[in-house]
Amino acid sequence: MDVSNEKREKFVTKLRQEDYENKELLIKVQQVIKESGNSKEYISKIIKKLNKEQILELRKLYEKDIERLNTKINYDKRKMMSLKSEW
């Protein structure tokens, strides 16, 4: 998703607290954070709009993604090792 700075700002202002219960929107938030270059300033603007539970949900989502990626990478590595060992 190619989001300009202006669009990102508009996105933040439109955020409503109840929207964060919607997982799809949390994913969109992750994408927008990535587009901003993971900027702390931008993340801070988003965090200001959230309460404790919602910040926790976002963290959990990141942690799950990291776990999933680590699992995938490890799986691919093991597969490569097994192919290597057969040669």
């Binding site: 954070i33 702390k40 965090i47 963290r59 490569m80 290597k84 040669w87």
Partner: protein, 661 residues
């Protein structure tokens, strides 16, 4: 008889002139230290008097000149005379003026003023022909202005009526003025009225009666009658006749014009009664009469103002004491509306205070103030509710989430003296919430902190805003300071000091993922204090901080604190405290180990830091940024790993084919 009067008059004038010359001669000598001949002084006088008479017409108001010369101090007297002279005449006049401090200015001014009057009287002695010549020579023909500047309107009018005609008087009654466009314009009196005045003055002369005459005042009266909508044309005519007669006979004053403009009932009858009362010169009775006649109008105004006020209060959604005052201020023009409270009877009433436009006296009208009181109560209750909400909000947030923005070292406006147990306020307004307490007691414990909220109310005693304060209840104080205390374990720590090894009982606890250690009785030069550090045991003493309950400068007077209260403080402010310890690391006291702080000061310091909630969010930003970066890194790694795996699989396939071949 008349001839005798004339001769007497001539003698008086001669005497006056002679006195003037004598005085000026003395003034001249005082200033110049030499004599000046009488005939030369007379010539000087004539030049100056002529110039003064000539210049008067250029000014806006003849009476203003008379006022400055006859009723003002030295500066304005001098200024008035000089403003009527040309350069040549100024030089001459100044030769007669010595020191200001000797009172010469007053003498000097009156000499020239009286000389001008004598000159005008001489002109009038020449009869109507001489007068008409004089009028012809005037710049604008505004002889009335000249007459009023020298308080001679009666003399001029008497001549015009005795020897002149109604046309002469008509010209005398007009005035010239400068309009907004900067042009000279003429304002005249209706011929019908001039005719009436002429006849009445003639009548007075025939009866050998003195008249009083002031053109401006007379015209004010006529204008007031003309503009009066309550009178019919016939009634206006009747009042005009009564007015002129009363004025010329000196039996009425300027209050007539004010009263006739005022909204009173039975106007014609009222004005007739007024004229009759004024004749009797019983001013107390006259004031009572005016007050009685004007009161209904003021009562009407009072009710109108009150209704306007209540209407505006009704429209306000969220009424506060400040809004009530603002609305009152905006309504007030010349009248005042306020509540007066009687301590003895415990009764309040709404008073409308006003100044009577005619008598100039202040008076009160009492109104039924139930509506006003109702709104005051609403506003005060709203203010109290707002204060309650602030306290409830603070209680809910807890001590760790209140940030002091206005320190205790500043005088807080609403509290007139500096109080030692005020920690600070949240904001600089008079109604900002502030914190009190947190003091060390005899048991070396830190007392509870409570929040106090000042709020505005409209006071009983009039229309002022007062400030009252609402404190947290005992229950709220308990909740505000409440915190979940961690489990505390103990262990014995053996450590090395410069003078050998020691063992101490150390308490350990965990708060927000940090491990803390606290011990008592660290000593310095006979004093002891409490020590706190986090992390490993071996972080003591380099990364520790000392806590004392003593304000003394001397090391031997130091005493520690009750550990439980330090643990409670950390539990109330975990992130703030962690930040404080970080800031303290590496700082040392004079004994060279670690910094020493008073427990109260520690609390005041951390109360000014960002709140726990804000620090928590800052932590969250750091964490999420870290996670986001980690995720991005792994996504790149995943792509690369997948690429590599594909390569491996391709190689595997190729290998498989060769084998098959």
């Amino acid at each position: 008889m008349k001839k005798e009067n004339l001769e007497n008059e001539q003698m008086k004038r001669k005497e006056l002139k002679s006195n003037i010359i004598k005085e000026l001669s003395e003034l001249y000598y005082k200033k110049n230290k030499k004599e000046r001949e009488a005939d030369k002084i007379e010539r000087d006088l004539d030049k100056i008097a002529s110039k003064m008479i000539e210049s008067v017409e250029e000014f806006g108001d003849g009476k203003q000149i008379a006022h400055e010369i006859l009723e003002c101090g030295k500066d304005r007297q001098y200024g008035a005379i000089i403003s009527l002279l040309g350069n040549k005449e100024k030089k001459i006049a100044d030769t007669y003026l010595g020191s200001w401090y000797s009172g010469d200015v007053n003498e000097w001014t009156l000499d020239f003023y009286n000389a001008a009057i004598l000159k005008l009287k001489e002109m009038l002695d020449g009869g109507i022909e001489k007068y008409r010549e004089f009028e012809e020579d005037c710049l604008y023909g505004d002889t009335n202005k000249i007459a009023s500047a020298f308080n001679m309107e009666e003399e001029f009018v008497n001549l015009l009526v005795k020897e002149g005609n109604k046309s002469d008087l008509n010209r005398f009654m007009r005035t010239m003025y400068i309009s907004k466009d900067g042009e000279w314009k003429e304002k005249s009196c209706p011929k019908r009225l001039v005719s009436k005045i002429f006849d009445m003055v003639k009548d007075a002369q025939d009866k050998d009666k003195k008249i009083r005459f002031n053109r401006n005042e007379i015209m004010r009266g006529f204008t007031a009658i003309y503009k009066c909508e309550d009178l019919t044309d016939k009634e206006k005519e009747e009042i005009e006749d009564l007015y002129i007669k009363a004025y010329l006979d000196d039996q009425i004053d300027d209050t007539f014009s004010k009263l006739i403009i005022f909204n009173v009932a039975d106007k014609l009858e009222t004005m007739k009664q007024y004229i009759q009362l004024y004749k009797e010169r019983d001013f107390e009775k006259l004031n009572e009469f005016i007050e009685e006649k004007t009161l209904p109008e003021y009562e009407r105004k009072a009710c109108k103002l009150y209704d306007q006020f209540i209407e505006k209060l009704q429209k306000e959604d969220d009424l506060t004491p400040e809004k009530i005052m603002a609305i009152k201020e905006n309504l007030k023009i010349t009248e005042d509306l306020y509540i007066s409270y009687c301590e003895e009877t415990n009764k309040s009433s709404c008073l409308f205070e006003f100044r009577n436009a005619i008598t100039g006296l202040r008076d009160f009208i009492e109104l039924d103030n139930n509506e006003f009181e109702k709104y005051i109560e609403i506003a005060n209750n709203n203010s109290r509710k707002e204060a309650e909400l602030k306290l409830n909000d603070a209680t809910k947030k807890g001590i760790g989430n209140i940030q002091i923005t206005d320190g205790d070292n500043e005088y807080i406006d609403r509290i007139k003296e500096r109080k030692d147990d005020i920690i600070g306020a949240v904001g600089k307004n008079n109604d900002s919430l502030y914190l009190k307490g947190g003091k060390i007691n005899g048991k070396r414990e830190l007392g509870d902190v409570k929040a106090i909220v000042p709020y505005y109310i409209v006071g009983k005693n009039g229309n002022y805003i007062c400030i009252e304060e609402m404190e947290m209840s005992e229950e709220q104080v308990k909740d505000f300071n409440q915190v979940e205390m961690p489990d505390v374990k103990e262990h014995t720590y053996r450590y090395r000091r410069v003078d050998g090894y020691y063992s101490s009982t150390v308490s350990d606890f965990q708060i927000n993922g940090e491990t803390y250690h606290i011990k008592n009785d660290d000593w310095t030069n006979d004093g002891t204090y409490t020590v706190l550090w986090k992390g490993q045991d071996s972080n003591y003493p380099e990364e520790a901080m000392g806590i004392t309950s003593s304000y003394s400068e001397w090391a031997r007077c130091q005493r520690g604190v009750n550990n439980e209260y330090v643990i409670k403080l950390i539990a109330q402010n975990p992130r703030r405290f962690a930040k404080l310890i970080e800031e303290n690391q590496g700082t040392q006291d004079s004994c060279g180990c670690f910094s020493l702080s008073h427990l109260e000061s520690i609390f005041k310091y951390i109360a000014k830091m960002p709140t726990e909630e804000q620090l928590e969010k800052e932590e969250a930003v750091e964490k999420i940024a870290k996670l986001a970066n980690e995720k991005e890194r792994l996504e790149d790694k995943e792509v690369k790993t997948e690429e590599l795996l594909k390569q491996f699989e391709i190689l595997e396939k190729q290998k498989g084919k060769r084998v098959g071949e």
